[in-house]
């Protein structure tokens, strides 16, 4: 039995907690120790490291921990590898990769990844689905892809930032964007300011005056407010942020539809040690057959729409770069999304414009079934999204919104400070966390058992007389997913199914086809047959080698002429 290491135990938001303890702190730049209550709800690096170690210990032979990369801040990107020691080697099994916390502040994603580990390790041997998954599949878990960024969540005052800080490269110059933020009212939270201004174009929303909407001059209505970040206005020198100098959102740093030169995408694609380690890991583990990422984006609560367009900043791609699921792949993604909604009871409107994201890389550049969801998100609806967030907060009885209150700004004078509490829309409150983690873990288990798996189901040796034989091998994939998606066939680094009959001194190949390659074997009982014409004495043995990198790795099956080795 594995004790829960990621269960939320506290009573509120990270930010709530920070706010409560902030009174004791001097407002401004205080790299505070993590407040006691926030540590209860979410794990900082130290707590996460302990949790990972604990899972690896208690998972015993089912779990191994290693470091995928060391961040610039000296923190490890932990990798947990799950799978039983019985059966095929771990790198020869189809694998599910689960990644969390690419965006700095999405620490709930870390918990969701670790909950998958708990769910599997808890029930191995007692739950058939779990046992099967750990005996026949490998699960790679990367709970915190951005350990430096995540640490900002536990630093006062609390900001909402998806960006990994950059490490003071003086050549970049300027100030980190984060440094513009100031906690004016000393509540420990950097939120928003609204200022009554003749130039304001916003008014309070009738349905909920906490929220603002655009004024409608055509209906004889003038604007009242301007809204801006709670902070100082940089002067002209500090306002210049050179390329890459503004902190990197790791989930905008990947290759597909990379948004060149936009804010927070990094100095260039895959520029960061963490993003590079992730891509290298995927390339070096061709047994990975599906990817699940907990991120700001979503294609599970709602599948990628058919009319999806690339982000506007993506201008340089030739027409042959795909911008949407292929027609053959779409049904798989739609079905998985449908099952996700059934299994979790969660819905939402999706967030498909994920230029430069990791889940997008996994599908568009590796051809992998790649799913992503934000853990915490309001249901779909006709109201504006901010209103739906407030409704969600109300429905679970948590206050994630700071009411506007007066404050004095050093440059602007009288302002009001308020708005969404940092990260309230990113990480669920502790009261909701546990249930959400369980539901997502259940989906991960469902997904993992659907990875393709090729087996050699039959080898037939037919005597043709005069020492000539026809050997026929039948391969099958009984699992849900095909051995490769449609898009994967276009991608150079994805190997087709290779089937070889290895001749030897006693067995000669008559046909010129020692090696066959086919792009894929369909799922749900898909079959493929390969045959060779050989000559040799009865009783002579040879081997059939199958290589299906995403669906079982290398398999060798012996075959004997006339020896009844049929399977």
């Amino acid at each position: 039995m594995v004790r829960s290491v990621v269960r939320g135990r506290g009573g509120g938001w990270v930010t709530w907690a920070v706010r409560a303890s902030a009174a004791a702190l001097v407002a401004g730049w205080m790299p505070a120790a993590v407040g006691a209550q926030s540590a209860d709800a979410y794990m900082d690096y130290e707590a996460l490291t302990s949790a990972v170690d604990e899972l690896a210990d208690e998972g015993d032979e089912l779990a191994r921990v290693s470091s995928l990369a060391r961040s610039e801040g000296g923190r490890d990107v932990w990798l947990l590898t799950l799978g039983s020691e019985s059966g095929r080697a771990l790198d020869q099994r189809p694998a599910l990769l689960v990644v969390g916390n690419l965006e700095a502040n999405r620490v709930a994603g870390s918990h969701a990844v670790l909950r998958v580990a708990e769910r599997l390790l808890d029930a191995y041997g007692s739950d058939d689905a779990v046992t099967n998954m750990l005996d026949t599949r490998t699960v790679y878990l990367i709970p915190r892809a951005n350990p430096d960024g995540a640490e900002l969540v536990f630093t006062l005052p609390s900001h909402e930032t998806a960006y990994k800080p950059y490490q003071g490269n003086t050549a970049r110059g300027g100030l980190n964007a984060r440094e513009f933020g100031r906690d004016l009212d000393g509540d420990g939270l950097v939120t928003r300011m609204r200022v009554r201004s003749p130039e304001g174009e916003l008014v309070e929303r009738e349905e909920d005056p906490r929220l603002l909407r655009e004024a409608m001059p055509a209906r004889e209505e003038g604007g009242v407010y301007e809204v801006m970040a709670e902070g100082i206005h940089p002067d002209s020198l500090d306002a210049y942020v050179p390329l890459g100098g503004d902190g990197v959102n790791l989930n905008l740093n990947f290759q597909h539809e990379y948004q060149y030169f936009e804010p927070h995408v990094g100095p260039h694609m895959v520029s960061e040690v963490e993003s590079r380690a992730l891509v290298d890991f995927v390339f070096e583990h061709p047994n990975i057959a599906a990817v699940l990422t907990f991120s700001a984006f979503d294609n599970l609560r709602s599948p990628t729409p058919e009319d999806r367009q690339p982000p506007p900043a993506v201008t340089g791609n030739p027409p042959r770069v795909p911008t949407n699921l292929t027609a053959d792949d779409r049904p798989y993604f739609e079905y998985v999304s449908e099952r996700f909604r059934e299994l979790t009871g969660l819905s939402g409107e999706g967030a498909p414009n994920e230029g430069g994201s990791f889940p997008q890389f996994a599908y568009y550049q590796m051809g992998l079934p790649s799913f992503t969801t934000p853990v915490w998100s309001p249901p779909a609806g006709s109201e504006p999204v901010d209103a739906r967030w407030l409704a969600l907060f109300d429905s679970v009885g948590v206050d994630g919104y700071v009411d506007w209150r007066p404050a004095t700004h050093p440059q602007l004078g009288e302002v009001e400070v308020g708005g969404f509490a940092p990260n309230a829309r990113v990480n669920p409150p502790a009261s909701e966390l546990d249930g959400l983690l369980d539901r997502h873990a259940e989906f991960a288990l469902w997904l993992g058992n659907r990875l393709p798996e090729v087996e050699v189901v039959d080898v037939e040796v037919e005597a043709r007389g005069q020492g000539v034989w026809r050997i026929t091998a039948t391969l099958a994939n009984e699992a849900y997913f095909p051995t490769q998606l449609d898009l994967a066939e276009r991608i150079r680094f994805n190997r087709p199914i290779n089937v070889r009959l290895v001749p030897n001194d006693d067995l000669d190949l008559l046909s010129d086809d020692m090696q066959h390659q086919i792009p894929r074997i369909e799922g749900m009982g898909g079959r493929a047959e390969f045959s060779w014409l050989v000559t040799g004495e009865p009783g002579v043995s040879a081997a059939i080698e199958v290589f299906a990198e995403r669906a079982g790795g290398s398999i060798t099956v012996p075959v004997t002429l006339g020896g009844g080795e049929d399977r």
Binding site: Y240, P242, L243, V270, N498, M514
Partner: protein, 610 residues
């Protein structure tokens, strides 16, 4: 205000026209020289009349005796650089920028005169070459460039000025592994030498082609199969193979490159080392391998490209760059793709800089054409050049060294009764004295039986400059690089005026001039926030206000908010132009003005108030 003086506006013939009365010595001199007829020397107007001559001098023994009628392998290069460093250690340092897949050092040479400042304080010219292993001449051009600058520093004023005012960073070869493979075996060796599963069977490099006859080159195999083939010996020259006449069977078949079926899968040499293209590995306009063959995981996937990328990123003083490839005789400029930024074009202002330098390069390089990559050649995603242009703000060319038109006679083409290969055989026999063709020679192949190995050399034919023509190629291209280097921004204070306003309050107006065509901030640098903007500061008095001078007469100030003692000059100093700033200051005594530019150096001047 930022004035370009219209200096960059050129008419159709590409001739420089000065649009204002401001004296811009080098630009004027060059414009006039071109109007008369090309003067292809390097350096300043002064140098053109210096009378020293252009080449290393026949009446002077070089301090480092290097030959440029031969090709250098990695050991030879290392040795040559050591000798140069021994002789010219005051100016020249050799470092390793990184290590190749097979463990060779990527030598990086810095040429700097420390007496005129540390290398980081001056505009630098970056050169690399041979990113494609089989495009070998780049190394020799780079070695020549280093050697020429060092040997002539004491003798040619223009060289002395370049070495004193500028810095050169030179990586002679970016792909020493591919180069070595090419020099060992010839053949397709564009790639680096990392493991690569060409046939996608899960095993890498399990069936390499082999130099079966051990003659130092992997050549073609043919087999004599009388009456059962598709080829016959050419009636004109039996060394050539031609298709059998219509309706007849031939006597020969081709069997591809020298190889055995090492892995026994029925195919010979189908999984060689390498198979990727490192000039698709840079992070601008990058596309994966299913969009463009040759790319790998992500930009900077390879140790060689990563090392070069780090080198470039860590030297923000690099203002201009040159890469050597082969072949075809081209001075290539970007962008590399018609889809680049949705337009397929650099900005007009940046394009004019390329045109200014590139069209003059055509004059210096007979048989070379100034060409756009995607429009005139083919599409390249993720090449060195676009990244240097976009993300580093560096004006960057790629030359395709060597045009075989330089080797053949135009006279032959006019009639050409025989096929092209016959022409090539004629030149092989009479000009190369047989070096480019190997006669078909019998060889006992382990599985194919009796075959013949021979044919045109892939090492010394086609792409590779014949050694006897190599020095001219090296000189002309190195001089083009120096011309380009000479056009990096060269800043100098122009007028600095102090005008009393009242009491001890003054208006200080200063102009910074750029005497060369490349601005301190290209359009791309400004648009994509590459590096830092220029800064100009005033110290020694209280700054009340300041900003760029504005208005036609530059008599007004475009005031900045807040502290104006340091001003950003986002657009830098334009090519053949200037920028004027004004401050209102209070104080007495002397004020110090400092102009700081990553690509234009740091320049200080003092002026008394009152």
């Amino acid at each position: 205000m930022r004035h370009s003086h219209g200096a960059l506006r050129m008419h159709a013939a590409g001739r420089f026209v000065s649009g204002s009365g401001v004296a811009v010595a080098w630009g004027m001199a060059l414009g006039l020289a071109l109007a008369a007829l090309p003067a292809l020397g390097v350096g300043t107007a002064e140098a053109q009349t210096g009378g020293s001559g252009m080449f290393a001098f026949p009446d002077r023994e070089p301090r480092v005796d290097l030959r440029f009628d031969r090709y250098y392998d990695h050991e030879d290069l290392t040795d040559a650089l050591e000798r140069l460093e021994d002789a010219y250690g005051d100016f020249l340092t050799v470092e390793s920028a990184g290590t190749s897949v097979e463990g060779r050092e990527l030598w990086a040479v810095t040429i700097n005169n420390p007496e005129t400042g540390p290398h980081t304080s001056k505009a630098a010219f970056y050169v690399d070459g041979n990113i494609h292993g089989n495009e070998i001449q780049g190394l020799e051009v780079n070695l020549y460039l280093i050697w020429f600058l060092m040997e002539n520093y004491d003798h040619i004023p223009a060289v002395r000025e370049l070495v004193d005012e500028r810095v050169f960073y030179i990586i002679p070869t970016m792909n020493p592994d591919g180069r070595q493979n090419f020099m060992d075996t010839g053949g397709p060796s564009r790639s680096g030498m990392a493991e690569w599963d060409s046939d996608l069977d899960g095993r890498a490099n399990e069936d390499n082609p082999d130099d079966l006859d051990g003659d130092g080159e992997i050549r073609m195999m043919r087999k004599h199969v009388p009456g059962r083939g598709d080829l016959v010996e050419s009636p004109v020259d039996p060394r050539l193979m031609v298709e059998a006449p219509e309706g007849e069977r031939g006597d020969y078949i081709f069997l591809g490159r020298e190889a055995v079926d090492t892995d026994g899968d029925g195919e010979r040499g189908e999984d060689a080392r390498g198979g990727y293209d490192m000039n698709r590995d840079f992070p601008s306009d990058w596309q994966p391998s299913h969009v463009q063959g040759g790319a790998y995981r992500y930009p900077f996937s390879w140790p060689e490209t990563r090392a070069v990328g780090e080198w470039l990123k860590s030297h923000p003083n690099i203002a201009a760059a040159q890469s050597w490839h082969n072949s075809g005789g081209m001075i290539l400029y970007g962008p590399g793709s018609e889809y680049y930024k949705g337009t397929g074009e650099y900005s007009d202002a940046d394009a004019e800089i390329y045109e200014y330098i590139g069209t003059r390069g055509e004059l210096m390089l007979p048989y070379y054409r100034y060409m756009n990559i995607w429009r005139d050649l083919y599409t390249v995603y993720g090449g060195t050049l676009d990244w240097a242009h976009d993300a580093l703000g560096v004006i960057s060319f790629t030359n395709e060294l060597w045009s075989s038109n330089q080797f053949y006679s135009e006279a032959w083409d006019e009639d050409a009764p025989e096929p092209e290969e016959l022409q090539e055989l004629f030149f092989n026999d009479r000009l190369s004295m047989g070096a480019r063709f190997k006669d078909w020679t019998p060889f006992e192949h382990p599985t194919l039986g009796e075959v013949e190995i021979g044919g045109f050399s892939s090492k010394w034919f086609g792409r590779t400059t014949p050694p006897f023509m190599l020095q001219e190629l090296a000189h002309r291209n190195a001089m083009f690089a120096l011309f380009h280097a000479d056009h990096m921004p060269l800043l100098d204070w122009g007028e600095v005026e102090v005008e009393p306003i009242r009491g001890d309050t003054y208006r200080v107006t200063a102009t910074m001039r750029n005497e060369r065509v490349i601005p301190t901030r290209s359009d791309a640098a400004r648009m994509y926030r590459a590096g830092l903007p220029d800064r100009v500061s005033l110290s020694g008095a209280t700054v009340q206000a300041g900003g760029l001078a504005a208005g036609e007469l530059r008599d007004r100030i475009d005031l900045v908010d807040g502290d104006a003692s340091t001003l950003h000059v986002e657009e830098g100093v334009p090519g053949f132009g200037d920028v004027t700033v004004s401050w209102i200051v209070s104080g007495s005594g002397t004020v110090t003005l400092t102009y700081t530019s990553q690509k234009g150096g740091t320049h200080t001047t003092e002026v008394p108030l009152g």
